[in-house]
Amino acid sequence: MSLSPDIISDLKNRLVTQINTIDDEQALEDLRVSALGKKGEISDLMKNLGKMSVEDKKFYGPLLNGLKSEIATLIDARKEVLSDIALDKRLETEGLDITLPCFPEPVGGIHPVSKVTQEVIDIFAELDFQYAEGPEIESEDYNFTKLNIPENHPARQMHDTFYFPQQEDGTRPLLRTHTSPVQVRTMLNSKPPIRIIAPGKTYRCDSDMTHTPMFHQVEGLVIEKDINLGHLRYTLEFFCKKFFEIDNVELRFRPSFFPFTEPSIEVDVKCDRSKDILKIGEGNDWLEILGSGMVHPNVLENCGIDPKEYQGFAFGMGIDRLAMLKYGMPDLRAFFDADIRWVSHYNFSVL
């Protein structure tokens, strides 16, 4: 076959036209083989180069090589266009409905009692209180006698105690009616200065709208050399501000009676009940929140602490009640039912 520039330019024109009109990746590959393959048209033309004169070679060599690379480039470019078109086409068919719901991950949470307990511990930790605990089945000695509540005293009856059957040694174990036995244990086992916060389960044989036979209490105890009621007031104000997340709080002390404290004080917090939602720290109403007082000298003595040297205060309040006041749960009894709707609603996320 004889070579002429026209042949080359015709081939080029034809191939360019073909490349630009092909819209199928396989056809483009076939064209590449038929043009650039070993037996392809350009290769065929290049076979002529061997037989040519040096001059012709100089002329046709660059021309043919130029054609080869130009066509290769065009095919590559066309290939990319075609692959983009193919991808677009595929994507078009792959649509998903983004509004479909995803698979629900179960949401966990901690119980309001745990939440409030953690909050209370954290707040008192700021005042250097330590978290103290004790068993829930206790002795009469720790629950009553050491706390200056004698056998026949009406105060002992007021506790509505759950008892276990009398033991062989004559003692009657009981479910602690308050977390005060933890105070007893702490005083018996450590030396002042003592600053503890003791949250936990407590039990009384009582059940109505506002009482459940099991409930949660938190008690605080501070025993040092010069602790007085002023420190109690400070501690409680500090707690109320932090717990209820308010800047100001007004407390009212009322003299009261607890066998284990003298003087004994009930503490009210100023609140507003005029609207549906109770607001602590505003208004003109009072809400009783806790009992407290200076630890009775008899209690200190019973627990191995010299009342002439040390003194201090104790206080106790209901954790469940704090939870209800802060987070607005209406009914105490629902706290312990573990109704899935209740725990789903009132439990707290931990993250």
Binding site: S114, D128, I137, P193, L229, P263, V350
Partner: protein
């Protein structure tokens, strides 16, 4: 304790308003629980006078009344037959609330004629009384516009006070008045003890047999009485106190209890013998008391007995037969001091609740036995007539003789409030203390009516109570020398694992620590029953943390909520010692994460979900989970073939698996229930690390190699056994083994299973040669063959 204001004024002269009295009571520690003030409910009802009453043209029974009211003349249609011109009536005008009818009056037309109010009957005001088919007829002396409650004499607010057990003195109106006066709210009226005209010796004599229980016994014989009803001021008072009126002598004893906290008893002197003795009961004695119940007495009950038998359970309740009734003509009035401990024990054992017991067991004033009897005796003869004998007395009053010292700085030391020492002395004197002032020290003998005063701290309380406890000002806590962390490591990790469990999608529950005995028995033979449970379904301490959770899941199922993922942290109870109340974390899961869902990747919870939970939580607590043995040793309330225990040595850290279907059935839960229990107290604390630095990450530059195997094993060979065999074959290079298929059936024998696993080998210093690789694979196959596994 109810406090009608009118009775308070019997003892206290004061100009204080009701609100001031309430506030002061609260400040004194006499907590006001409630105030029933007729003014609040009925103060808006005023007197009106009917000027004219004419028949209603459209209704036979109605009258058109022109009424003169505080707001001028108004027209009111009235249906009462007694409405007539000239009558003083109780008027309510539009906008006023009628408590007896629970309506608010509106202006309106009755049968076409305008009516601008209502004329009220006594019951329409919510007051007790007879309507006699008509409106109230108020006295002619009443003035138009005057408050009806004033005209009726019922404008007497009643304050309900919660009296703490240390204040027996405040169980009488006089004691409360005394406290208010000491606080400066008024002047206490001088108590007048009548000079009795006594004219004869009592035919009844008194004696004491047991001074420890009864040390003072006083009596008056009153002859020739005519038992009648008590006058209104006494019966009204009793009614306000919630006490039924019987007859004058009995009512007077109750009046004495409520007025002076001095319980007394009256006997029909003709129904008892002539020798009354306060003694302990003898076993076998019994008494039919005034409540018509017969009580069996024991040898620590105090009784008032005559020659033959007990006639009263002393300080608790009198006998039915010797009581005073209309037929009584001779009375024996008894007044005594009984030891509070005895009264409390008897009252509690016999379960008798009486005003006398309530006061005696809290401690009455021993000084007031004779004076109280004198007041009552005089009242009885004033009302019922008769003559009073000379007093008969046995023993003497156990008056307080212990003195307590108050140092000048004690009040300041305990309360932080500085009160002038002379002011302190004045307060105590006003409260009735007898005081010797020694300059820097007061020596104080408490008044007889304050048995609660037993030490210096009590004196401080009295002083700050009267001075005003709200003088206590906040003082920051002193800094501590040596600070301790608030939480111990164990406390910290329990709070952490609680939060972690919640973050894994578990909802925390708090359930009762006690449960039904039959339910508890499903978990243990060793049960702790309460002696006095509140109900049978809360009678036994839970032996497993699962008890309450399963009851909750059962209720949730009944409500239609089948998907449950709950956990609880709490104590379980194996015995009464503090070491037999360990803490557990329990998990219960039923159903799955979701009901049917279009993604369809939902499946019900399996024991492997629970295993994953347990391992994750144990890991969170720092338990050495890679060294744990997982063995089929869960308790019998688990499915015998779908449960396990995670142990280290002999210690069980956790059990998990499917609940035994029988237990699920007992809790009325259908479907499979997945449960786990983690023993929080047995897991050792992880070792304290010496440094905060983490171990170096093992990131190798050489590529790891994986090889897959499938072994046929006997069904009884556990996956753990297989994994251990593989691990053992090369402890250095094998870094991971994952089981990707477990297969039974097909051409395997029924006793066989196939486990397919992928082993990852990680060369550390040089790539593995083919020879090395095949030698490792041979080792694996050989180790597995030792546990009976054959390469498939």
């Amino acid at each position: 304790m109810k406090l009608p204001l009118s009775r308070l004024y019997d003892f206290l002269e004061t100009n204080a308003s009701l609100q001031e009295i309430i506030d002061q009571l609260n400040n004194l520690g006499l907590e006001v629980e409630d105030v029933d003030n007729p003014e609040d409910k009925l103060g808006h009802f005023t007197v009106g006078k009917i000027i004219a009453a004419e028949p209603h043209p459209n209704a036979d029974r109605l009258q058109i009344c022109q009424v003169d009211t505080k707001e001028g003349k108004v027209q009111i249609i009235c249906g009462a037959p007694n409405a007539r011109a000239g009558l003083n009536v109780c008027v309510s005008l539009p906008g006023m609330y009628i408590p007896g009818l629970d309506i608010t009056i509106k202006k309106g037309k009755i049968r076409d004629i305008e009516s601008c109010g209502m004329l009220c009957s006594i019951t329409e005001l919510g007051l007790e009384g007879e309507d006699n088919d008509g409106i109230m007829e108020l006295p002619e002396t009443a003035k138009v516009g005057e408050k009806v409650i004033d005209v009726l004499g019922v404008n007497d607010p009643v304050i309900d006070i919660s009296i703490t057990p240390n204040r027996p003195d405040a169980l009488g109106v006089y004691g409360i008045a005394h406290d208010l006066a000491a606080a400066g709210l008024g002047t206490l009226k001088q108590l007048e003890i009548p000079q009795l005209k006594t004219s004869f010796d009592s035919p009844i004599s008194l004696s004491l047999e047991h001074p420890e229980s009864c040390s003072h016994f006083v009596g008056y014989y009153i002859k020739g009485v005519q038992v009648c009803d008590a006058p209104d001021h006494i019966t009204h008072f009793l009614k306000a106190m919630g006490c039924k009126s019987i007859n004058a002598p009995v009512d007077i004893t109750n009046y004495m209890a409520y007025s002076y906290a001095r319980p007394l008893h009256v006997f029909d002197a003709d129904k008892i013998g002539t020798k009354l003795c306060a003694r302990l009961a003898q076993a076998g004695e019994s008494l039919e008391a005034l409540d018509e119940e017969t009580y069996q007495l024991q040898d620590n009950d105090i009784v008032i007995a005559d020659e033959n038998a007990p006639q009263a359970i002393a300080g608790v309740m009198g006998g039915l037969k010797s009581g005073v009734y209309e037929t009584t003509t001779n009375i024996f009035l008894e007044s005594a001091y009984f030891n509070p401990d005895y009264i409390a024990a008897t009252g509690r054992r016999l379960n008798i609740i009486s005003d006398a017991r309530y006061r005696f067991e809290r401690g009455i004033s021993p000084a007031f036995a004779e004076d109280g009897a004198k007041i009552a005796a005089q009242m009885i003869v004033d009302i019922c007539g008769g003559e009073i004998s000379h007093v008969v007395v046995a023993g003497k009053p156990p008056l307080p003789d212990t003195a307590y010292h108050l140092s000048h700085n004690t009040v300041q030391k305990l309360t932080g409030v500085e009160i002038d020492f002379t002011k302190q002395e004045e307060i105590l004197r006003n409260l009735g203390f007898t005081i010797i002032n020694q300059g820097k020290k007061l020596i104080c003998v408490p008044p007889a009516n304050r048995p609660d005063i037993k030490g210096e701290a009590d004196l401080v309380e009295e002083i700050i109570r009267i001075y005003g406890i709200n003088h206590v000002a906040a003082q920051p806590l002193p800094a501590l020398g040596k600070k301790q962390p608030a939480l111990t490591p164990q406390q910290k990790r329990i709070e952490r694992v609680r939060n972690y469990a919640a973050s894994r999608g578990l909802l925390e529950a708090v359930t009762y620590s006690f449960t039904e005995q039959s339910k508890a028995a499903l978990f243990s033979d060793n049960l702790l029953d309460l002696a006095n449970p509140i109900s049978t379904d809360l009678s036994t301490m839970r032996p497993s943390i699962l008890c309450g959770l399963l009851s909750a899941v059962s209720r949730n199922h009944a409500q239609g909520f089948k998907n449950n993922a709950l956990f609880e942290i709490g104590r379980v109870f194996h015995g009464i010692s503090e070491y037999q109340q360990p803490r557990y974390l329990g998990i219960v899961k039923t159903g799955g994460k979701s009901d049917s869902h279009w993604l369809a990747i939902q499946s019900d919870y399996t024991i492997y979900d629970l295993k994953a939970d347990v391992l994750a939580l144990l890991d969170n607590m720092g338990a050495p989970i890679t060294g744990l043995n997982i063995v089929p040793e869960a308790p019998s309330y688990y499915h015998p073939k779908r449960s396990g225990a995670m142990k280290l040595g002999k210690e069980t850290y956790a059990t998990f698996g499917e609940l035994h279907p029988k237990i699920a059935k007992a809790f009325d839960i259908s479907g499979r229930v997945m449960v786990a229990e983690i023993s929080l107290d047995t897991i050792p604390m992880p070792k304290v690390k010496k440094s905060t630095a983490l171990p170096k990450a093992k990131i190798h530059s050489l590529q790891s190699v994986t090889r897959d195997f499938a072994f046929v094993l006997d069904q009884s060979v556990s996956a753990e056994t297989l994994l251990r065999a593989v691990r053992k074959s090369d402890k250095k290079l094998i870094t991971d083994i994952s089981i990707f298929d477990v297969f039974t059936g097909g051409n395997l024998k029924e006793t066989e299973k196939s486990i397919a696993l992928r082993v990852t080998l990680q060369p550390t210093d040089k790539s593995l040669t083919d020879a090395e690789l095949s030698s490792i694979m041979d080792n694996i196959i050989s180790e597995v063959s030792k546990v009976g596994g054959v390469l498939r």
